[in-house]
């Protein structure tokens, strides 16, 4: 083996991981501080090259995240290999002289026969959740070993693998999911085929959604208390179920989720022929153009409250429509009109009339099959961290030596956490001494239950 580390060893090292984390931290700070809209001029060019207007989705940020993921993956697999290749662990027992060299230890003397006390101590240790092993090398002498928190070996691995599960979830969502939105006026029926990005071909949708009602509830001070869309799922022409979609309460159907995202008003428009009969009608949504069938014209419109009449009469107080007519993509004319007043469209023999204002609900439509993986990963992340932080792995050794009617007890241990170890040894010594002097050995409730003492 040469002294040079292979690139893989270097790549999976924690140093690489930490450098990547540092880079992600710095990039993230930049992403929250830099204005996330396009700028012009020279800065603009740099901005667009490095995608600084959208740092978190830029090629270099995503690359950083991917490298960190690979580093984590390599490091986790390496750990897993090490952990599974671990030889069956020996369970050593120590002599008094070895125990004496440990950092944390305690010695005391008990009265009574050694064989009884030895059994009691092992019971006590077991009831405290220790795994124990022991031998009796000579009459009147016990050597006991005890260990707690062996699961700890796996904790770091669980934590790190949970990230891979989360990343798998993100990837699954990115590949198999979609997110889009639709502004649906009350009364509208739509299927997934009309949702951009859903990947459902026209006419191939499994079900349709009908918006039955949209309402806003308000507090006494008129601030909004809630937005509610009443909808019906229609399958093969049959109403299958009704639901109310509200903020914080999306509707999930067939793996697709519908969220209450916004609302607004649309304007219903009638198209009339020369005879004044309605040929067609449709809805003009805010900010969108409505194409007039059979012509190259389209209209856009928005409504506003008209100003009160100068003479003070309230009759004329109502809605007005501001509209624009386009020929192809060219604006042709614009103006202001009242509801239900026909306007002529270019040279066509058709007129349009904005007949009424219809509220619409803005729904976010989303499918993300990766979400369960995200929650699964999050759960394991917490489990792994919980074991890492709150389980305190340590080993204890005891030597009992009968000396006449007395037993000399020596307890020592090793752990990464010295304060906790000192605490454990102290409380164990306390319980042993109290048990030996009173004859009442403290065991856990579970143990007492098993022995039928409760």
């Amino acid at each position: 083996m040469s002294g040079d580390k292979s690139w893989l060893t270097k790549f999976r090292s924690m140093k690489t991981g930490l450098i990547l984390v540092l880079a992600i931290i710095l990039a993230s700070i930049a992403g929250t501080i830099l204005p996330q809209q396009g700028l012009h001029g020279l800065t603009g060019r740099w901005y667009s090259l490095l995608q600084l207007d959208d740092v978190f989705h830029s090629w270099w940020y995503v690359t950083l995240l991917a490298l960190a993921a690979l580093n984590l993956m390599a490091c986790s697999f390496y750990r897993l290999k090490n952990l599974t290749q671990r030889r069956e662990e020996t369970k050593p027992l120590l002599e008094s002289s070895q125990l004496d060299k440990l950092q944390e230890k305690q010695a005391f003397v008990l009265t009574g026969p050694c064989h009884v006390t030895g059994d009691r101590i092992i019971n006590l240790l077991t009831s405290r959740g220790y795994e124990t092993w022991y031998d009796r090398p000579e009459p009147g002498k016990w050597r006991i070993g005890a260990e707690q928190g062996r699961l700890h070996l796996w904790a770091s691995l669980i934590t790190h693998f949970s990230f891979l599960v989360i990343m798998l979830g993100v990837l699954t969502g990115a590949v198999f999911g979609f997110q889009s939105s639709i502004n649906a006026p009350v009364g509208a029926v739509f299927g997934l085929d009309s949702i951009p990005g859903s990947g459902v071909a026209p006419g191939r949708e499994d079900f349709k959604l009908r918006v039955d009602d949209f309402r806003i509830e308000r507090y006494a001070d008129s601030t909004p208390a809630g937005y509610y869309s009443q909808v019906t799922i229609i399958r093969e022409g049959q109403a299958e179920k009704t639901a109310t979609i509200a903020v914080n309460s999306p509707l999930e159907y067939n793996g697709v989720k519908f969220y209450q995202a916004s609302y607004g008003e649309a304007i219903k428009v009638d198209i009339m022929g020369t005879d004044g009969m309605v040929i067609d009608s449709g809805l003009v949504l805010y900010g969108q153009r409505f194409a007039i069938p059979g012509t190259e014209y389209s209209v856009s419109a928005s409504s506003q409250l008209s100003a009160p009449h100068p003479d003070g009469s309230t009759e004329s107080f109502g809605r007005q429509v501001i509209y624009a007519v386009f020929q192809g993509n060219q604006p042709e004319s614009m103006g202001r009109t009242s509801l239900a007043t026909p306007i002529k469209i270019g040279n066509e023999d058709k007129t349009v009339s904005f007949v009424e204002i219809v509220p619409y609900t803005g729904l976010l439509v989303k499918k993300d099959p990766g979400v369960p993986l995200i929650w699964l990963g999050s759960f394991f992340l917490l489990v792994g961290m919980g074991i890492s932080f709150f389980m305190r792995p340590h080993r204890l050794w005891l030597v009992l030596q009968q000396e006449g009617s007395e037993i000399a007890v020596l307890i020592g241990g090793i752990s990464k956490n010295r304060f906790m170890l000192a605490d454990s040894i102290k409380s164990l010594s306390h319980d042993i001494q109290r048990g030996a002097s009173t004859g009442v050995w403290k065991v856990s409730d579970k143990e007492m239950l098993l022995n039928g003492n409760i």
Binding site: A225, Y227, N248, Y259, W375, L382, S388
Partner: protein, 279 residues
Amino acid sequence: MGIYEDLAFSGAFAAYTIAILLTVWGFAARHDAVSRFASYVTIFGWVMNTLALILRTLGAGRLPLSNGFEFLVAFAWGIVLFYLWLQYRYRLKAVGLFLLPVVWALLAYAAVEIPETQKAITPLMPALKSNWLSVHVSTAILSYGALAVSFALAVMYLIKERISRNQNTSSVLYRNLPGEDILEESCYRFITVGFFLLSMVIISGAIWAEQAWGSYWSWDPKETWSLITWLIYGACLHVRQTYGWRGRRSSIIAIIGFAAVLFTFFGVNYWLVGLHSYA
């Protein structure tokens, strides 16, 4: 703010102020009775703080966790909760000297800088009407509380370490500060508790965001800064474990981490704009 809530708030603020003075006195004069009295005054302040939160809960008919003012009062409460627990568990002296001023500053900020409109109880906006609100914000309070304690311990460690490097072991500060070992160890413990809770904050926030906004992660400034904070503490734990970066270096990272906590709360609200604009 109701009159009784106002009284409780003022009582807590006054008690914490007095507790700081008593702590300084007890520390400088090495007077144990004064230090003990300072602890009692702190407990009184915490009870008042609790009362202020309870009264607001009763007044609003919900947990008081929905705007910047409410969060600050609860944040102070969480810090003192962990401080009292630390006192009980580790019997560490002098932590209050470094921690209570943080609590004081938070409450002073809440009293002076937060506009009256936020202090009034306002009904919840639709996005906040969720059971996840209480889970998300209460874990945030506990997490930030634990991290504030780790910050105070890290500062104490750095001071103690600096004096001992200068071999000025006769100074009052040196003699009255707890040992470097216990400071370093308890600082680490509080970071692990705070870090674990911070993970819960981020996860519960993601679950909630998925329910309210349809996306578990949106790179909103608040989200991003909580991730930055999380990465800093995560890195801190890794270098401690692997490279044995203890003491000075890990204390410095703990201080940077808490600065990130404060920025996540204050900085993001006042300088950056995002979805998370209520607190």
